[in-house]
């Protein structure tokens, strides 16, 4: 469904992405792991379209999207959630989700009719809120939510655009065990309907959820394969997993 071919990017003298080639098959949960600074978020940004690639190609559902603008990719079915929470802080949870639904359905160049009259938008937003576990907080201002709830909203915004493939950038960042469990459950529910490219540090979640794993170190792919294969890979252990695997 998603294919990257020799994608590269440099910032001045630093090579952030080094000839990355990977593919995400339809329906799978593909995890992207690697140490801090490996360039995972940079890669996600290039896939989502907020960063330009220097060279290489990205194909989505058979069509090249390397030069497509971010909003065009979203329209094509490719959504993303952010590692550093990026929501509409002064909107309520309901309004946050309703806006994303609005973006997906129909034109927003509508200047006269009040949004409040569009019941369908808010109904769908309510359903979404339920899916991510925020039904109790519909009318709370996003800024007042707990960290875990904000991360859930973060994912909710990405899901609201009804994507075919969603890029989840460290959805469990900064979460405690209980919140993480809920997020894992959510991703489990979501995978039935769409394809997921998941960036995560939480190895427990990764090995539980992933169909395949790609390991990124210093911007380069050093291994791709099933969780079992990755666990056993010597270079991966050396570069990244090390003691964590022994503990798991």
């Amino acid at each position: 469904m998603l294919e990257l071919k020799q994608v590269s990017k440099r910032f001045g003298g630093v090579v952030a992405t080094d000839n990355v080639t990977l593919d995400v098959a339809q329906g799978e949960v593909h995890a992207l792991i690697g140490p801090n600074g490996a360039g995972k978020t940079t890669l996600i940004s290039q896939i989502s379209g907020s960063l330009d690639v220097d060279s290489g190609e990205i194909t989505f559902q058979g069509s090249p999207i390397t030069r497509a603008k971010q909003y065009e990719r979203v329209k094509a079915g490719l959504a993303r959630s952010y590692q550093i929470t990026s929501i509409f802080k002064r909107f309520s949870v309901l309004d946050n989700l309703a806006l994303a639904v609005q973006a997906r359905s129909g034109s927003s160049f509508s200047f006269w009719r009040p949004v409040a009259s569009e019941a369908a938008l808010f109904e769908e937003a309510r359903v979404l809120a339920g899916e991510v576990g925020l039904s109790e907080k519909l009318h709370s201002l996003a800024a007042t939510l707990a960290h875990g709830e904000q991360r859930a909203l973060e994912v909710g915004l990405a899901l609201a655009t009804r994507p075919k493939l969603v890029l989840l950038d460290e959805p469990m960042a900064g979460m405690g065990p209980e919140e993480s469990a809920r997020m894992i459950e959510l991703i489990g529910k979501v995978r039935a309907k769409l394809t997921v490219l998941l960036v995560e540090h939480d190895m427990d979640a990764v090995f539980r959820l992933a169909d395949r794993i790609t390991v990124l170190v210093n911007g380069r792919v050093i291994a791709t394969g099933t969780p079992g294969k990755i666990r056993a890979d010597a270079e991966v252990r050396r570069a990244y997993l090390g003691d964590e695997v022994a503990a798991a």
């Binding site: 989502s48 907020s50 603008k69 971010q70 909003y71 979203v74 329209k75 959504a79 993303r80 952010y82 990026s86 929501i87 509409f88 802080k89 002064r90 909107f91 309004d95 806006l99 994303a100 609005q102 973006a103 997906r104 129909g106 034109s107 927003s108 160049f109 509508s110 200047f111 006269w112 009719r113 009040p114 949004v115 409040a116 915004l157 609201a160 655009t161």
Partner: protein, 321 residues
Amino acid sequence: MKRSLVVLALLIVYPLAMQAIDHLFYVSFASRLLIYAIAATSLNLVLGYGGMISFGHAAFVGAGAYVASIALAEGVTSAWIGWPAAILASALLAWVIGAISLRTRGVYFIMITLAFAQMMFYLVNSMKAYGGDEGLTLPQRATLGFGLDLANEVVFYYVVLALLVAILYCLHRLVHSRFGRVMVAIRENEARVEAIGLPVYRYQLACFVIAGAAGGLAGALLASHGKYVNPNVLHWVQSGTLMIMVILGGVGHLWGGVIGAVALLTLEHAIADYPVPWLTQLAPNYQQHANLGVGLVLLLIVLFAPQGIAGLLSRKRHARA
């Protein structure tokens, strides 16, 4: 809502009262206040709701003023031609300037809008055919037909008031529409709006053009009101004045532009025409330095009350509740 109706009622009754006590000058003065209220409201759309710090809004007001003036100077007196032409011209100008400026962000955007506005100033300044730097005096105000004689101060006032109310109502609907929600979201978190699939640039440009068009209408009214136009209406200090009005009144509040325009112009008028005895003792020609007061007030507002008058009023209302 109730407050708005009270204000509206007062505004409707005002000129009749002035006429009764034979102070027609104050009707003309009030018309000018309301015209600036329209201009400030148009800036409020782009600045307050859209979050775009456009420092060149005077260019659109000025473009409208000049197109309307040129029409009158050339003998096209019907407002039904002159005013829409002014609106169209400003909208077009806003499209061009916006299309280039909105490719930039932050500090660049502010400076570029400033520079483009100043470019328009110099352009108009060098148009010798229409007065150049001396400005253009107009033979008459525009004509509306239907028995409405715009030369009559009271009639002119009501026409301006009607337009202001229409614009405020349109702004109200706009803010609550889909488009309005997107604009407010862009102001809140531009990157995320793009990430949920909306082309931010197009929305910002549309907002910019709408605001420019409304500014153009204000310009056309200004030209008719004073029967005179000169390049200073495009100068960036004018843009600054409009911004002062918006922040004084309340950035992002529906009535912000109106409150700010009325407050600032009334203050200026009061300082200039009503000498305060003890102040005159202290500094004999303080009235010529009114800008010092304006500057200080602006500074204090920015530092201590950035939500403006409307912000202070709504805080009081919430505190009471």
